[in-house]
Symmetry: C2
Subunit: 211 residues, 2 copies
Amino acid sequence: MGEMTATDASGSVAGRSARAEASRQEILAAAAGMMRRNGYAEMSLRDVAARVHKKAGSLYYHFASKEDLAAEVMRIGVEAVETDVRATLARLGEEASAEARLNAAIEVHLETLLKRSDFVSSHIRCYPFVPESVRAELREARRRYDRLWLELIGDFAGPATRAVEVHYIRHILVGALNQSLEWFNPNRDSIEDFAGQLHRMLLGLKGRHAR
Amino acid sequence: MGEMTATDASGSVAGRSARAEASRQEILAAAAGMMRRNGYAEMSLRDVAARVHKKAGSLYYHFASKEDLAAEVMRIGVEAVETDVRATLARLGEEASAEARLNAAIEVHLETLLKRSDFVSSHIRCYPFVPESVRAELREARRRYDRLWLELIGDFAGPATRAVEVHYIRHILVGALNQSLEWFNPNRDSIEDFAGQLHRMLLGLKGRHAR
DNA sequence: GTCTATAGACGGATAGAC
DNA sequence: GTCTATCCGTCTATAGAC
């Protein structure tokens, strides 16, 4: 038990050795990659284990079940993208316009989804097909991130915009962002151009008369 | 062979009895429902067969493999939504404005996706996770439908709009439409309101100066 | 912590009776 | 056309050795 500490250098949880924590992180990363590519149902514990040079049974030292592993992968994903977006907004500072903040959020969400994180993309792709118990565990974290977008869009659209409009705009915007996972080709497409086009469509919502 | 005709009343293919054709359609509908709800990997032939009061082995009289069944379901889906949209456009007639045509296409796509067809929704939800051989079979039909949207958007945006912009607008628009499968709640949301919001965002693309 | 071994369930697919 | 029976593979999960 000598290697256990309340909080070690890598920030692992108390009661878990540094070695166990390293294995755990390796397994999570391998599972995220496989979930992103093949989906939840076809992510097999044998394959995940093989990718980190272990056997399937060994994973049960770190995770209680396949559902537990998947839920952890997806929780890391949604928290990662929220953390990235909030960090960028914080860097922009209080004086940034609502338009600048919304644009920055769009670009960071896309960067994290498309380039940075298998955890985010596996969350987006797998959520619809994951067992209900897993969805239940993710609901709160998802709502938190949803609320961030509602705020960003509400601030941008202005106080005259009704809540139901903000609701639809959020689904349109975030839906368009997340679907990019299925068509975005880094050799052909550009995040800047894609985000720019979204920006122009959002600008159309401002400075108009009510219907 | 007495029941075989070149084209019978139900429009079945030559060389297939009316009874076989009816069974085939039942199986396809059951598979579409299961694929929509549970995804491709978790659609089991045993469950599909049970839903139409048959046994798993019997499906192989109608389909060569699970992949074959899924590809047929998804092919029907993409062709159904294209047929619905084209029929509505034809009804609008030649004199309809590009704006009216685009709006009509948006509404029909949503109606078919969200209310009318498990075939369309199973296509949208399962395509990313289906085996490559299935995707290959669907590629041409998907491209045809994609081209229709490129035309509608190109006509709406006007000749000054570059092809790359139309490309992104199509992905944004169709992505937002298709993601609605994951959030649209008929008890809370309205296709008209959702389509109206999309319409306003698209209007923002018109009557602006180039950047 | 990771291994081997295996239980136990379920999957797609095929053969042959009817 | 559909059934029964079955092959053979894969899966999650567990038990116990090391």
